[in-house]
Every structure is written in structure tokens, then in C-alpha cells.
Symmetry: C2
């Protein structure tokens, strides 16, 4: 069984990836099991930040690593918060604070386009100097609602209305969300590439 490090401390992501890759005989372990200093996410694109995190994990573990970078792009905010989604209201901001800022900004623009898109990029690097990482991107289109609804998921989910489901992402059970979400789609592509 091949070992793969996940460059993230998120336990939900770890479990998700473990389930996905177990059939391929790939054992996903958390980066927290090693001494890996935090990487500096200096990229202006999701893929650059995912590469920075994956390369960092490879470097300090000597193992292949996978990283994801994701965020939300809001049309009325010209694509913001984008790569800054997790730190929209400041470094270390909670989901609550980030969502509050988003709602405040959009409340001041009553007639704007509230279209939004979730983006996830997954990167798999075999080693620190891997020049051709596997890159898989998934997107999920929806629109921002000012009133939060639902208590599942995380991030901007309570404000991300999914027209095809008639509810927000936070109102969808995990399995239903994963089947259509940005991360779910990126994962599906990764699985297809690893299987072939």
C-alpha cells in the first residue's frame, strides 16, 4: 500500500480522501503525523497555493503529498474573496466573521449580481521537485443569499444557494453535497487520473 500525505489539518478532508483512495490501495495520512511547518500561501491562484502546500509536505515528509486550495468567487465583488476566502475578514478569521463581511458588502449593493462560484483545486506531487504535478479543478455555481440557512458544511455554505437543489450548501447532507460540490468534482477527476 502506497502512502500519501495530506497537506491539511482538516479531519473531514482526511476522512473523505481516505475513503476515496482506499480502493486504489493508497493510504492517506495527515501531515500532522510529521513535523511539517506551515507553508506560506503566497500564490494569487488556487493552483499555486495548492502546489506550495503539497511541495512543502513532500519536502518535510519525503512522501508523495496531496493538497487542496479552495475558495469562493462572487461576481459582484469581481471574484473576491477568491484565494483569500479563508482569511477574508483577516488572517485566522472564523467562518462567521468571513460570512458577516460578505453579507455586509453585498447588503450595500442591493441590485447587484449575486452569482457565486466555489472553486477547488487538488494537486498531487510525487516528490518535492516534481515538475508535473497532477492538477484537478472543480467548480460549483450558485448564488449568495443574505440570510444564512442550514448548519451543515463549513465556510460560506450557509450563504451559498444551490439553484438545482433549491437550498443552500449548508442544508445538504454531506454525501449529497460531495456528489455535486467543487471539491467532489475535483476529487472525482483525481480518482479518474489515478485509476488510469
Amino acid at each position: 500500500m502506497e502512502k500519501l500525505v495530506l497537506a491539511s489539518g482538516n479531519k473531514k478532508k482526511l476522512a473523505e480522501l481516505q475513503n476515496l483512495l482506499a480502493p486504489l490501495n493508497i493510504d492517506v495520512v495527515a501531515q500532522s503525523e510529521f513535523e511539517v511547518p506551515e507553508a506560506d500561501e503566497t500564490g494569487t491562484t488556487f493552483v499555486e497555493n495548492a502546489i506550495i502546500k503539497a511541495r512543502n509536505a513532500c519536502k518535510y515528509t519525503g512522501l508523495p503529498a496531496i493538497a487542496d486550495d479552495s475558495g469562493i468567487q462572487v461576481a459582484a465583488l469581481r471574484g473576491a474573496p477568491g484565494v483569500f476566502s479563508a482569511r477574508f475578514a483577516g488572517v485566522g478569521a472564523t467562518d462567521e466573521k468571513n460570512n458577516k463581511l460578505l453579507v455586509e458588502l453585498l447588503s450595500d449593493m442591493p441590485e447587484v449580481n449575486r452569482d457565486a462560484r466555489y472553486v477547488a483545486v487538488l494537486v498531487l506531487m510525487t516528490h518535492e521537485d516534481d515538475a508535473t504535478p497532477i492538477i484537478c479543478q472543480g467548480t460549483w455555481d450558485g448564488e449568495i443569499v443574505l440570510e444564512p440557512q442550514g448548519d451543515q458544511g463549513f465556510g460560506y455554505d450557509p450563504h451559498f444557494f444551490v439553484p438545482e437543489k433549491g437550498c443552500t450548501a449548508a442544508q445538504l447532507p454531506a454525501q449529497e453535497k460531495n456528489a455535486i460540490s467543487h471539491r467532489g468534482k475535483a476529487m472525482e477527476k483525481l480518482l479518474a487520473q489515478l485509476s488510469s
Copy 2:
């Protein structure tokens, strides 16, 4: 007609891209028509270097930009020269010097695996802060021959033997090469994405 800057000074690449994108009503112009300082290719992956070049062109022209980064990976050299292909024998090295170094290194390893892979990554960014550039990768498998053959193409082409054609890349007419090459495949993917 939409304008797109090519972040390269290579006239062959410009002509190739102009031909490819003319049917989509996209006018490709060379970055040399603007004042664009050279970008520092600090990436360890092809995609990072292509992003660096495309972002730099967007920044200084205010237009959408496309960049490519490409190179060759040789199995016996553990993937080298990779992202350093154009500067394998030193910054500003000629194709001749790079090829000479490659042949010297492999001559010292008579029984090694001479499998090689050309890689090209194309990146299209709509603006400097575009967090989700279009990324298209193409690869081309072959093997290194120590005796150069053919005088077409460029780079490592005279030493890149293409089994399916029974000759080197430098012995293929441009059109025939473009139909199966790493760059040709990446271009095809780009065209498909832009058309949809």
C-alpha cells in the same frame, strides 16, 4: 475581436497561436509590442512558470495573456532537465550547448533507460489577479538518441526519437510535429476549452 497577449518572444509560437485562435475571433499579439519586463521563472513546476509569465504580461499590458512553459524530462536523469531545459547548460545556453550536455551525461551511462518525455503547459489568464487561469498540459513520449538527426524544430528535437514515427522530432515537418507534439496536444485542449 478580442485581443490576447502572448508572453513570449518566439515568432513560431506566435504564428502557431494566431492560426489556432483566429477562427475564435481572437487576435494574438506579441508581448514585444508592449513594454513588458522579463519575468523571473522561479517555479519548480511548469505550470508555476507559465503562470508567472502570463501574470507578468497581464500586469504590464492590461490585457488577457497566454504563456507556455515546456521542457523535457529524461528518465535516466530522474526527470532532469525538466523546468531547466532551456538553461540546462547555463542561463542563456544555446540549443546546441544544452544538447551537448545531455549527450555527454547519457554517454557516461551506457545501459540506462533513455526514455524521455516532452511536456508543455499552456496558461491563459484574463487579468493579473485571475485566480482560476485555464491550464492545459500536453506530453509527448519518446527516447533520447545520442546521434542528432534532422534539422527542423528546435530544442532537443534532433535527439528526441519518436517511436511511432521511426524518426526524431527534428525530422518531422512542422505540421506533422504539431499534430502529435506536447505543445500541439496542449493547444488542442486550449482550443476545446475556449470553444466551449
